[in-house]
Symmetry: C2
Subunit: 271 residues, 2 copies
């Protein structure tokens, strides 16, 4: 009974990993890789796992991150036949990976854990640098904005997305690339998401505006489209209260531009 | 009298610049560039100056930084015929340069100012990360050290280089690549340097050990060779007091290994 043996002896792994997304073409392995293209996080991780365990697996992330987007604590899951102690897997993977990807934790989890399906929420952070000259040591992790932004207006706009809303207006136009935290048994996907935290803060010393958002799921480009729209409110180009109308319109064209990738970081996946 | 006109109308410029050295092949333009090689800071800056002013100049740095070494405030000088307001030159250069190089200040200075010859000292910082897993957001700017280091022993060793010493034991074996802050009228170069600050500090929150050194000049690899030797003392492989004997030996083989480039940052050039 090879199938049964196989299932019984495989270990389900949960990795928590941080990465600097600048030099990667996003999380997801590309179906037809271009030779000159940057590597992907998923592909680089799969290679490291193969190097360490000799097994070819495709680690499943909690969701995709776009090219240039960072993660302080992305979560990935996969199964291995090889019986490797968790501490050894952690050490060996970090030895095999480039310094721009670090495994922070490796845990053996129950067979029903899945990095994406089991997730019940995520926290993202977006950083905007408001100074004139952005330090090269900061440039990879912030979006520079040279015009002044009205933090009160951005905060007012951000508060209007709290609770459950249809975020079609803030989704990229490729709906099949949306992700949602749901069990496979749930109803077909909708663009409704629940937002528990949506707030701006500022550090006058660093001149960095930080946006924090926690939701039960995010559509493709949703955080960057929200931030781009909040920045329009901060710049005085739209009224902060227009966020409500934009949500109701369910029309991407009503919202602001997609904010650049480098300011975005996946901070935590909630299970 | 074109020569005189030329001298009279040229402006001598002093630039203060920061850079993330990770993706550069050091400061210095290479005599025979290899196509696959990383660009240099000096070459990238020269291209930006040519783009902005239409003039081909080779900006002179206060000294070379090696491949992978960073600068928080390197200084470069060069002359231009084009009469450009300082604020415009600053803005235009930052527009032409990659985000990994930022001009922090552009000043018109007297014709006798020279970034290297006029310098009377420099401050460098070296950072060592003492944790097990180094964040990808930190990895470019620190050297990771997994074994424990005795800070008291490193501090004791560091204090022994204060004052004037011959640093031959801590110089790379290519003496023509040494730099010294001296006027062209001074005696022939020696390997004697005066060190005003040499100290270690630690931040338990970040687990980063920081070495700060201020001297009137530095030989090639001198800071990294000092740090590599202090780490040997911190690891208990040599006695902290052996620094004195190593200095006296004037023999590179007596000192420790060259510490890796990424931990090093040129913090300030003194004039």
């Amino acid at each position: 009974m090879p199938a049964m043996t196989d299932t019984n002896t495989k270990t389900n792994w949960k990795l928590t990993l941080a990465y600097d997304g600048t030099d990667f073409h996003g999380w997801q392995v590309q179906p037809t890789p271009v030779p000159s293209q940057k590597p992907t996080i998923q592909g680089t991780l799969a290679e490291a796992i193969a190097h360490v365990s000799g097994e070819q697996v495709l680690p499943q992330g909690s969701g995709r991150t776009d090219s240039g987007v960072h993660a302080a604590a992305q979560v990935a899951s996969f199964t291995l036949v090889a019986p490797i102690p968790a501490a050894n897997l952690l050490r060996a993977l970090n030895r095999a990976l480039p310094p721009s990807i670090r495994i922070l934790a490796a845990e053996q989890v129950s067979p029903d854990f899945h990095a994406r399906h089991s997730a019940i929420g995520k926290i993202y952070r977006y950083q905007i640098f408001q100074g004139t000259i952005c330090s090269p040591f900061l440039a990879r992790y912030v979006t520079c904005c040279h015009w002044p932004l009205d933090l009160a207006a951005m905060q007012q706009a951000a508060a209007l997305i709290l609770g459950e809303h249809d975020f079609t207006s803030f989704a990229a136009c490729d709906p099949d690339r949306t992700t949602r935290m749901q069990s496979p048994h749930q109803a077909p996907r909708s663009n409704a998401r629940h937002i528990a935290v949506s707030e701006w803060s500022t550090d006058p010393n660093t001149r960095i505006l930080t946006y924090t958002i926690q939701g039960n799921g995010f559509l493709h480009h949703m955080v960057r489209n929200l931030v781009g729209t909040f920045m329009e409110a901060g710049r005085g180009r739209i009224s902060p209260t227009s966020i409500t109308e934009i949500l109701e319109a369910q029309d991407r064209r009503q919202a602001g531009p997609t904010a650049p990738a480098p300011g975005l970081c996946l901070m935590q996946v909630l299970y």
